[in-house]
């Protein structure tokens, strides 16, 4: 079966420190991968998506970057965290290849608090 993992589950970091969040998928090949952020009391904002290794599309200009070093691994990074980077980060995968056919399945999330 297909599963998605995220770690860490929670993270408290000081302003200006680096960040690395990891997401891995099992049970499928060449998935579409997505990073979302959910700020307190707000909906989900798509940050990045990837349709293949090394292929990253950014939706919102910001202090974050993403990488896909392996087929089923998606990493969210920052060189220097800002207070506004606090939030709940969700990774998702989808297997639809034709336009508009993706059903996205979400990981358990990482709660990031920047102090």
């Amino acid at each position: 079966s297909q599963t998605i993992h995220q770690w860490p589950a929670t993270l408290v970091q000081p302003v200006g420190s680096p960040l690395s969040l990891e997401c891995t998928v099992e049970g499928t090949s060449n998935p579409n991968l997505y990073w979302y952020r959910q700020a307190a009391g707000r909906g989900l904002q798509l940050l990045f998506y990837s349709v293949g290794i090394g292929q990253i599309s950014s939706e919102v200009p910001q202090n974050l970057s993403a990488s896909r070093p392996q087929d089923r691994q998606f990493i969210l990074s920052s060189k220097k965290l800002l207070l506004s980077d606090s939030g709940f980060y969700l990774c998702a995968f989808g297997t639809g290849k034709a336009v508009g056919t993706d059903t996205q399945y979400f990981g358990p999330g990482t709660r990031l608090t920047v102090l």
Partner: protein
Amino acid sequence: AQSVTQLDSQVPVFEEAPVELRCNYSSSVSVYLFWYVQYPNQGLQLLLKYLSGSTLVKGINGFEAEFNKSQTSFHLRKPSVHISDTAEYFCAVTFKAAGNKLTFGGGTRVLVKP
């Protein structure tokens, strides 16, 4: 711009009563429609989806939704809620012109009271 609107930010409901969560989207072009549920401090779980076919879609946990193309709506219903249905519910739409990207509504928080 394409958008998804969930008209109610919070819905209080008594246990065993019915509930309807409203969702409208901006475009009449081809769409795929989804409802997700999020329990506190957890990821999103897919409740149901509409891709094609029958406009009445049945999902997990007794939920169902009806796609109404003329009204560009995809309302979620459950005839009798349980305490365990307390959660936040998100409507999401893939607008085919936007590739595989989901556009989410702002969410509806359901509080089931005993």
